[in-house]
Amino acid sequence: MPEHAPEQEPEQEPEPVAGPTAGPPDPASGRARLRHALLAPTQRQVVVALLLALLGFAVVTQVRDNQVDDSYAGLRQQDLIDVLSGLSGARQRAEAERTRLERLRDDLQSDTSRRQAALQQAETEADALAILGGLVPVTGSGVRIVISEETGRVRLGSLLDVVQELRTVGAEAIAVNGEVRVVAQTSFEEVEGGFLIDGEVLEPPYVIDVIGEPALLSEAISFIDGPARAIRRDGGEVTVEELSSLDIEAVREPVTPEFAEEVPGE
């Protein structure tokens, strides 16, 4: 360690006088001495040059080695332990982050599926309501009831009986003469030459298309003392045809309720 530090100066003082640097004429000026050494080198510089060459060689080697070497060979045990603990810390952090993200993902997924289920339910309900409200054309199995007037006029009560019996056994869609869709608000009125149903004048024969369970529907019309008998008593004729597939094209304009409001929270 001891170098050309101040404490060494005294013992070296006499030596330069002996002339290590070819007798610098101006000992006061370091700059002049340096210039002198550069311009007029002596053989004494050879050993210095040798050591400096060694230094340059070592510096270049170390710099290159430092750039090239990315393995852990040559590291101290403590350094390796530090690297290892740093890695394990990083791994723990990454795992915690992964757990957090996975939980977030699960939350989002369950949220999405809940929302989808709600949406599906709402769509199903909307479909059912659209059918019940007569807003869309429907198709399915059912019966076609044809009421013709033979000898007398069919009374309004008998017609309402028919509709009522059909509803009782769960008719899902009813249309009369392919023109009027019968829903909850449908009104019936007796007029000259036929019936006024929802503002449409319908004349006999009345063709009632009904979608539902065909056997039940036909039974509902033709049971003993049922509407079929009442119509025959009026002087009409009833035929019921069970169909495996039946289209009802007639639809009803949606009505916005003017007075009724939804009860909040129900």
Partner: protein, 110 residues
């Protein structure tokens, strides 16, 4: 001039040969390099002071390198190699700074 040429030759040799550092020497080479740098700056300062002696330079160069590497070696044996090499670097760095300050005063009078 010869000294500067020597430094140049060493750098060129290192670039050309591209030697691999032996694994056993890997922790000591950087310390040795810094110690040698300290010796060189000390020598330059002594030269500017007019008290340079090549014998002293050679001995201080070699002993600097050996002692610095030795301290780190002992530190490695004791299990405090990392800390000791940091300490050696700090001490050598301080010395390099003070030597360079003296050189600067000589060359630039500032």
């Amino acid at each position: 001039m010869i000294a500067a040429l020597g430094l140049l030759v060493g750098v060129v040799l290192g670039l050309l040969l591209q030697p691999d550092v032996p694994v056993g020497l890997e922790p000591y080479l950087p310390i040795a390099v810094v110690a040698a740098l300290d010796a060189v700056f000390g020598a330059l300062r002594a030269y500017l002071d007019g008290i340079f002696d090549d014998k002293v330079f050679v001995i201080s160069f070699v002993s600097n390198v050996v002692i610095a590497a030795g301290i780190v070696y002992v530190g490695d044996r004791l299990g405090v190699g990392g800390q000791l090499s940091t300490g050696v670097i700090v001490v050598l760095g301080i010395r390099i700074f003070s030597n360079v300050a003296a050189i600067r005063r000589h060359l630039f009078h500032a």
